[in-house]
């Protein structure tokens, strides 16, 4: 469609006559259709299929169409007893990582975004620094996986340096294959997902608001707390949604950095897929989906997303 046709359409859309309004609505649906189609085919249909499969029975080599809640019962097997069941344990472990990762990426991401938005004047420099933030993604997961050992391992760079400085005698084992290592990797990978939306929010703040706050006698910290932070809330919420979803669904990072010793929901699903237990994996996926949606729902209550986007 060329510009002329578009502008004519826009004119038609702007016309207040009833027929024009109808046409405008039809046009709006038409414009939304491609995305709706993509969503339908690549999101809704697979989800519905997953939901259906989660109700099927299975054996070693086949899945059998049926209607059973056994897969869900298996997911929560033993959860009613006093001892925590595997599922609850796994979720608690994952939630712990969500909380820790958020607690670190949020202030860190905010600080970096603030620096980029308010202290960097040149767009070129800003772009360059943004690119710096994406460095963790320049290498493949495999390379990163391999390179952690020489850095954090028992005889790695960090331990060697600390020993060389005489700060420790015995190497710190917990640097690798531990909760610390997992959180470190999450922070390393996910902070950029916090930076970008927060930067976006901060960039929209009218600089005169900062001056107005200063004019009203606010100190730097007061301006940050009373003006910048509330206005960055949408970005923070979106960044938090990114981080929550990434951490909740992750099993590669937890696996590699936890030395496969730390459970994650994604890993459970992956193992079940590998053993052809698709319905069990589907049931787990549905539970995970519900958990993530609940968390996102909680986050979106903080803000009116539609007003922001």
């Amino acid at each position: 469609m060329n510009d002329l046709a578009l502008s004519r359409l826009a004119e038609a859309a702007a016309s207040p006559a009833p027929s024009g309004r109808r046409r405008r609505r039809a046009l709006a649906y038409l414009q939304a259709a491609p995305l709706a189609f993509v969503f339908l085919v690549f999101l809704v249909v697979p989800l519905v299929l997953t939901g259906i499969v989660s109700l099927w029975e299975y054996n070693e080599y086949a899945i059998v169409p049926a209607l059973t809640l056994q897969n869900y019962a298996d997911v929560f097997d033993g959860c009613l007893s006093a001892d925590l069941c595997t599922t609850v344990r796994t979720y608690l472990s994952t939630l712990k990582f969500v909380a820790l990762t958020l607690a670190i990426t949020l202030p860190l991401g905010f600080a970096i975004a603030y620096f980029l938005a308010f202290h960097i004047r040149s767009n070129t420099v800003r772009m360059g620094l943004f690119l710096l933030c994406t460095i963790p993604f320049w290498t493949s997961n495999v390379i990163r996986m391999i390179s952690w050992i020489p850095l954090l391992g028992r005889n790695g760079l960090v331990n060697d340096t600390l020993r060389g400085l005489g700060l420790i005698r015995e190497p710190i084992e917990g640097l690798l294959y531990s909760d610390f290592a997992v959180v470190l990797a999450f922070v390393h990978l996910d902070t950029v997902f916090m930076i970008v939306p927060i930067f976006n929010s901060l960039a929209r703040i009218d600089r005169r608001l900062i001056e107005a706050a200063r004019d009203c006698g606010a100190s730097g910290a007061q301006t940050l707390w009373n003006v910048v932070l509330p206005l960055a809330k949408p970005g923070i919420a979106i960044g938090a949604i990114f981080v929550v979803t990434l951490v909740m669904g992750d099993f590669v990072t937890v696996g590699v950095m936890g030395g496969q010793q730390i459970a994650s929901v994604g890993k459970v699903i992956q193992v079940q897929m590998a053993y052809l237990q698709f319905p069990a994996a589907a049931a787990n996926a549905m539970v995970l989906l519900a958990a993530v949606l609940l968390m996102i729902l909680g986050l979106t209550r903080m803000i009116d997303l539609r007003r922001v986007l």
């Binding site: 595997t86 495999v142 028992r154 084992e173 030395g259 496969q260 459970a263 053993y275």
Partner: protein
């Protein structure tokens, strides 16, 4: 291009040359017609470019590798049987694959060297001596009742499930420089002396069998079949693992080949479940590593070629031709030089130097430097192979990689172990 392209003169000449030099003959059909491409599904470890190049030279066949991880091989065979022409999979996954009806029994009459295949597969014997058959021992699943049968035959029939490609006996790898007590038993894996320096692999069906080897080594319990545990046996084994994990015995669990190499080479672990080529790779980095034979024996595995039921006509002929070529010696020698064992030892021997054969298969000290198939130095002259000769190693197999009847339950308990 016309409809029936004639082979070029050069191809014909090349073909003739191949005929002249190839010891096994009798598949001219493949050469006469349009070149055939076989889609070869398997794990990357077994998919050597050298083999593909050699078979192209010898038969004019193009091999197109589809490399995936072990579990994915099984999944593909069950869910997408038309996405490959030839599969190289482990014998234990037959218990999952065969009931899907996607694999065809192979006609033993069309496999020229069928009766020369190692007795490990056909009788479960090495040098006339019965070997351990716990788990999915290949002899239990080697023959099928009929071409389209979904049942394994306990005895020899004319239909074979998988034609062996490689097999080996797995044990623990150790760092002799960092382990200062003699390691002769599987129970050392959980010896508190190695606290925080041990690893097992995070593949439930294999990991639990290593754990079972430990349990039996401590003398606490003897399994009916380590490769097919009952629920209480699974519970008991997982309980032991959880206790060890909570006590901080494990540094990590590894999931793929490279992880196991890195853990060992970096000294993160000093004792762990390992695969033979991984030990070779650690040594190639100049780090001492021993594939330690243990008195309770080895956990063995084997994989082989299967063909999908839908394969027919020239592709089917080509698949048989390729398998026959594979057994005819060159490939066997190639695999033996990597430290694996090949299906037909006689033909492989004919393709190896006597000193190589003596080192790899007879457990003798190397007369000369031992080179890998790629020409890299593997062992200096004078070295001997860990575990000794073929007869010693394969003769000491205690159990085989397996899929248990209680697989679902086992996987669930394994997840519990990981979450503990």
């Amino acid at each position: 291009m016309n409809q029936f392209p004639r082979p070029s003169r050069r191809a014909l000449l090349k073909g003739a040359a191949a005929f002249a030099t190839t010891p096994v003959t009798g598949f001219p059909a493949v050469h006469a017609a349009e070149p055939v491409t076989l889609r070869y599904l398997g794990t990357a470890v077994n998919q050597s470019a050298d083999i593909a190049r050699k078979v192209k030279e010898d038969l004019g066949l193009t091999i197109e590798y589809i490399p995936v991880v072990t579990d994915e091989v099984t999944k593909r065979v069950v869910t997408q049987p038309n996405s490959f022409d030839l599969v190289d999979t482990e014998y234990f996954s037959l218990k999952k694959i065969l009931p899907s009806g996607n694999l065809a029994g192979m006609d033993a009459k069309r496999i020229k060297l069928a009766d020369k295949i190692s007795s490990v597969f056909t009788q479960g014997e090495v040098a006339g001596k019965k070997i351990g058959d716990q788990g999915t021992a290949p002899k239990k699943v080697f023959y099928l009742e009929g071409q389209d049968s979904k049942k394994f035959a306990g005895e020899q029939t004319g239909w074979i499930s998988l034609i062996p490609t490689v097999y080996n006996a797995d044990t623990l790898g150790i760092r002799p420089d960092l382990v200062n007590i003699p390691v002769t038993s599987w129970k050392e894996l959980l010896n508190p002396a190695f606290k925080g320096r041990a690893a097992i692999l995070n593949i439930p069906s294999i990991g639990i069998m290593d754990a079972a080897m430990v349990v039996e080594a401590t003398g606490d319990y003897t399994y009916g079949d380590k490769g097919n545990m009952t629920k209480p046996e699974i519970d008991r084994t997982i309980k032991l693992l959880i206790e060890a994990k909570r006590a901080g015995q494990f540094r990590a669990f590894w999931q793929d080949f490279n992880e196991s190499v890195n853990l060992m080479a970096a000294g993160e672990t000093v004792i762990q479940s390992m695969w033979s080529p991984a030990v070779t790779k650690v040594r190639a980095q100049g780090v001492p590593c021993t594939y330690q034979p243990l008195k309770e024996g080895y956990r063995a595995w084997a994989s082989g070629f299967g063909i999908p039921k839908t394969l027919s006509g020239r592709k089917l002929d080509a698949a048989y031709a390729f398998i026959n070529w594979f057994l005819s010696g060159w490939a066997g020698a190639y695999l033996n030089r990597q430290g694996y064992y090949s299906a037909v030892l006689e033909t492989a021997k004919a393709n190896m130097q006597p000193y190589e054969w003596a080192f790899w298969m007879e457990g003798k000290a190397a007369e000369k430097d031992i080179l890998g198939p790629d020409g890299a130095l593997i062992e200096k002259a004078g070295a001997t192979r860990d575990g000794g000769s073929f007869d010693q190693r394969m003769g000491s197999v205690a159990c085989w990689n397996a899929v248990m009847d209680e697989n679902t339950y086992m996987v669930r308990k394994w997840n519990e172990f990981i979450a503990a």
